[in-house]
Symmetry: none
Subunit: 199 residues, 4 copies
DNA sequence: GATGAATGAGACTTCATTCAT
DNA sequence: GATGAATGAAGTCTCATTCAT
């Protein structure tokens, strides 16, 4: 059955996302789904391998999300609205994983960093994600600029970087600053962005 | 002598910033500075306490940096230039610590996240840092707006959040994206920001 | 297999009864039965837990012994003879444990004291043992008094306490005093006791 | 000054009497009297030596007490009353040590046992104490028997052993059994003892 | 497919002890 | 007479991993 394997990844993710890599024990994962430690070794040859699978699972979801947001049919406004509705990302993630523990950007971000420290290879995956997002945005901005919707004097490459940076930064910062409602912030940012780039 | 204690914190920071908390052993720290494991316990009652001291050391430097950047005498342009010259932050940090290991934002960010997972209290410190920065910027923007330098229709509170988010996001993202020169990015962002907010 | 667990308790008891609690290392226990340190943690979650199990094992044997000695069918003389034949207690204990290390009362007594210092709860167990013994004796004395065997003017409650105290004291003291043969002492005490309480 | 040395012994005794030998650290003793660990080594060459001094201190007091109780001028009744007034022993001990922590026989007894496990030599000291006491009593009993006060058919050697055993046993057992008032028990035992040995 | 016993390495931590000051 | 830094050995405990069943 593939069921057990999925259960392991899910439970592992749940722990890895909230705790230090080293402080997550295979026992606790096994116990959490009602099997024994040794059983995990049927599906994964090591703790590292399991961890990697967890990270990849999350990354694929993020990639899918950003691809969806930038679908061809969407208007400039719709794209920005999708990307800036941070809460949706984590809601979707939680639903996909059938669990409610990815409560904020910090959880996701933490997993990413820990992963990179453990396996430098993961940094490459992150790079791909950001590059794809940035290039996607740049292409869209160029298209809109050609159509006369975006101001002519704007450097689309820089703008794309700005947007990506602001999305990541807003998610990160809003997890800490007091008195910032994530939903409102998203809307405000979309508005202010459109105002300054559109003709 | 306070020398040994400082050496311990320095070496510990060096390891904590590059590796998983749990995978940093006190032995390696001790060995790294030529003392024995037990010696560390003269100065710190536990690994956690040492870790905390390391984090606080870094936080104080960041706080100082952002306070310096927003000094009263500085012009709008100077403030933005300071805040967006990311590389300077880490250069300064490296100099202060007399070590060259804080090579990028990821290192600092990682330390922050790991710290928060271990000690939720640290999240409060981070909140203070961001809040101070955001409020400082907002005040400055309002002042400049009153002087007629910044456009009247701009919401300074949102703008302050945007700037903080962009700084953090740019530092984070630029650590991954390919083909982005951190120095150039900073300059570009200052330019584009000034262009859109100034009369 | 329950074999290993039993081996651990047995070997642990062997060490705990002869040495300081703290100076008994899990390594030595493990080594003593040919397993590794970590193996002990399969059966006991801590050194304390193992220690507790050891103590309980001993207590249960003592309780059983005193219950046996005061069985209903035994005559007054037989009961006293059983209780005062100290050496039998430890012989039995050694046989039950399949080891010959409980050589005298001091060993048992020491274990009891150390246990109490570590876990105050153990004092309650000891209390139960003594109370049961004292009450059992009192009932028997009252019965014998009613039958006219024990002198009418004797306070059976005090007598019961005296007997318990003398048993414990004799075991304790005889471990030190020179020139006292434990076997002879027991017989003498039975004789002198019967002489003074019987009609 | 001899003051510091005395303070060390006193504080050490306070800890050794309530805790496991190994779990008493020199740091805690030093801290308890406001000096540092290293300072102890001015007066004692090792932890063991300090421990031994503590035990000897206690033993000397016990020996003195029993010698006092059996002073030549005292009558049979007075001697027994002194020996059986257990609480007095510990009260006196506490006063001598200027501390109130020797609350019961268990504390004293525990110290004795731990001492023996660590240094078999101490068993010899205990033997001397018991032997002295037993021989002292035997001599007194013989004297009283010669004077016609004690029954002729009593074996004074056995009686002396019985008394010592009962004293030790009563102190031990009364620390556990419920509903036994130590003071009353002492009086009862004196009475019942006199009744059975006197003409 | 899964269990459970067992290993072995490595971690944090404590402490008696030494010694220069 | 006393401090305080530092050592080094030992101890408890945790865990990834293996393997017979």
């Amino acid at each position: 059955m593939k069921e057990t394997k999925d259960k392991i990844v899910l439970k592992a993710l749940q722990y890895f996302i909230k705790n230090d890599y080293e402080s997550v024990s295979l026992s606790s994962i096994a116990e959490g789904i009602g099997i024994t430690k040794g059983g995990i070794y049927h599906y994964f040859s090591s703790k590292d391998e399991l961890f990697l699978e967890c990270i990849i699972t999350v990354f694929e979801m993020v990639r899918e999300f950003s691809a969806d947001a930038m679908s061809e049919n969407a208007s400039l406004e719709e794209v920005l609205e999708s990307l800036f509705s941070f809460n949706n990302i984590f809601q979707m993630m939680s639903e996909s994983l059938n669990m409610d523990f990815v409560s904020n950007y910090m959880d996701y971000s933490y997993l990413m960093f820990v992963g990179i420290k453990k396996f430098p290879k993961i940094a490459e995956m992150v790079t791909i994600i950001y590059d794809e997002m940035q290039q996607g945005l740049e292409l869209m901005f160029l298209d809109q600029q050609a159509k006369g919707i975006i101001k002519k004097d704007i450097n689309c490459k820089i703008l794309a970087f700005e947007i990506v940076a602001m999305i990541e930064g807003a998610m990160l910062v809003s997890g800490f600053t007091t008195g910032t409602d994530l939903k409102e912030v998203g809307k405000d940012l979309v508005k202010s962005t459109l105002a300054r780039i559109c003709v």
